[in-house]
């Protein structure tokens, strides 16, 4: 017993030491702040996702299950939103417009759903169109199973790549030793579908026995960030690790991202999960955060609105309650900076069609970052 405590102690020391070596792994307080923030939409509880419509209005999902249409300074609730299983971290989650929304009108949403025979719920993906503040032509495109009453790790962000494929994430639903490493089970995966929900013929596991053929990559814990890189077109993801070990990954077809076999994190209780941070056949993260920031939402800055920001990656921190800006050199994180400190839990961040950054903060609403001249 005494020995194991010593080992644990040494393990923690080593962990601390290896982080201390990692100069990139420290968030600095921002010096030159090129914006002043404005609470653009107030009175929201947990704004989980947001989308910008061509007419300049916005759609915002509230985790509690309501979809809000914000137009001309007014909030209207959208009708005919699917029934949502509100439990733990689950509820109404992401919203994303089809790249050709202006012509086809499809919007996509992820939510926790009770659909199915077992008690509990699991993540679902649907699409619908919007008219007169109501959804219509609702289609359920994917429903993970089996349901569980666990409250954790639903995912779930949506992204499209340049070829028009739809990607979305589902977390491992609190069953880390069951789901993430098993491609015949849902959860702990990034999925890829055609925009109508059918499964692309060249998905990596279409020929694997009993596999969930929508799976594109696996070995994930709880991804709540997913976005197409504006230059390379690659799909970038971030996910919540356990205590320590939140990750940014660049998603590769059929790849295994290692959870829970390899991780830079430890259990919430402080005990180790594994002593392995790498293994052959498993991907290393592009970046990892120790300590965990609890990342949610992800945006690349492509506009010139903010001085020296172009090409940066923005990520919300739930636990430390700030917006993080990561400066990249190629794909490597070379600097981290804290913005919007002490406003609240940052749930989502997007760049609007106007090139401005919009930040969803729990208990507050949507902040807009107005550039300083």
């Amino acid at each position: 017993m005494k020995n194991s405590i010593t080992y644990l102690y040494l393990f923690v020391i080593t962990l601390n030491f290896s982080c201390a070596q990692d100069t990139e792994n420290k968030a600095n307080t921002a010096k030159d702040i090129p914006f002043s923030e404005e609470l653009f939409i107030d009175g929201l509880q947990i704004p989980w996702g947001m989308a910008f419509l061509p007419d300049g209005s916005m759609l915002i999902t509230e985790k509690s299950g309501t979809l809000i249409h914000f137009k001309d300074g007014k909030k209207t609730l959208v009708d005919n939103v699917p029934e949502v299983y509100v439990r733990g971290q689950g509820g109404l989650m992401d919203i994303f417009l089809h790249p050709d929304y202006e012509n086809n009108g499809w919007l996509y949403m992820t939510y926790a759903s009770k659909e199915g025979s077992e008690k509990g719920g699991h993540t679902a993906l649907m699409r619908a169109k919007l008219k007169n503040n109501a959804l219509y032509d609702n289609e359920l495109l994917y429903k993970a199973g089996p349901n569980t009453t666990k409250g954790q790790h639903f995912g779930s962000r949506i992204a499209f790549d340049d070829e028009g494929y739809l990607y979305f994430s589902i977390g491992e639903r609190g069953a880390r030793d069951v789901n993430p490493q098993d491609i015949t089970k849902d959860g702990g995966k990034i999925y890829r579908l055609n925009d109508n929900g059918s499964i692309p013929g060249d998905n990596p596991f279409v020929d694997a026995e009993n596999a969930k053929t929508a799976i594109y990559s696996y070995g994930h814990r709880n991804p709540q960030g997913l976005i197409k890189h504006p230059v390379t077109g690659a799909i970038w993801e971030h996910e919540h690790g356990p205590r320590g070990g939140d990750e940014i990954n660049i998603i590769k077809k059929g790849a295994n991202y290692g959870w829970p076999v390899i991780t830079y994190g430890i259990n919430y209780s402080g005990t180790p999960i594994t002593d392995k941070t790498e293994m052959e056949g498993m991907e290393q993260p592009n970046h990892y955060w120790v300590p965990s920031i609890a990342p949610s939402g992800m945006a690349f800055v492509t506009s010139d609105k903010y001085k020296n920001w172009k090409g940066s990656l923005l990520v919300g921190s739930l636990v430390f309650q700030y917006l993080e800006r990561l400066t990249l050199e190629g794909t490597k994180v070379i600097h981290r900076e804290k913005l919007l400190e002490n406003k609240g839990r940052v749930r989502d961040v997007r760049q609007g069609p106007d090139g401005l950054i919009y930040v969803a903060v729990e208990g507050k609403g949507i902040y807009r970052l107005n550039p300083k001249q």
Binding site: Q45, I46, K63, S64, Y85, V86, R87, G88, G90, G91, K150, G151, Q152, G174, Y268, S269, G270, A294, V319, F320, Q321, G344, R345, E362, G363
Partner: protein
């Protein structure tokens, strides 16, 4: 003689009752610990210490021990706005976790009797049922 028998019986009954309560509490706390480690641990931490200035502690929390009904209400319907715990003001949002009344009773019993906390009275499903939003 008759008195002695009555007293003994009463004493046995009392002890039995106490024992039954103790086992019921233990079982409830055990279920509550599972709920806690699923729904609460990420913010309130494994030993209930919370995160300074962000998420209030549950261990040795004056709010939890003195505001029992308000605490149940917070777990049941969610909690928003300012909250003073051990002299520190917290201003955050806790969404309703969507727990069933029985699960709320269990997790309340767990947090009221862990990490140095101790409560004389067990939380029952009926008590949670009786807590309303307004």
């Amino acid at each position: 003689m008759k008195h002695v028998r009555t007293i003994t019986l009463l004493l046995l009954f009392g002890l039995g009752n106490l024992y039954a309560q103790e086992t019921a509490l233990k079982a409830s706390m055990e279920r509550g610990s599972e709920i806690y480690n699923d729904f609460c641990v990420a913010c309130h931490m494994p030993t209930g210490e919370g995160i300074p200035f962000v998420f209030p502690p549950l261990a040795n929390s004056d709010y939890l021990m003195q505001q029992r009904t308000a605490s149940i209400k917070g777990v049941k319907f969610g909690q928003e706005g300012e909250l003073v715990v051990n002299g520190e003001t917290y201003n955050n949002t806790m969404a309703s976790m969507g727990l069933e009344d029985g699960e709320i009773a269990d997790v309340m019993n767990y947090i009221l009797n862990s990490w140095g906390n101790s409560s004389n009275e067990m939380v029952t499903v009926e008590e949670v049922e009786a807590v309303t939003k307004d």
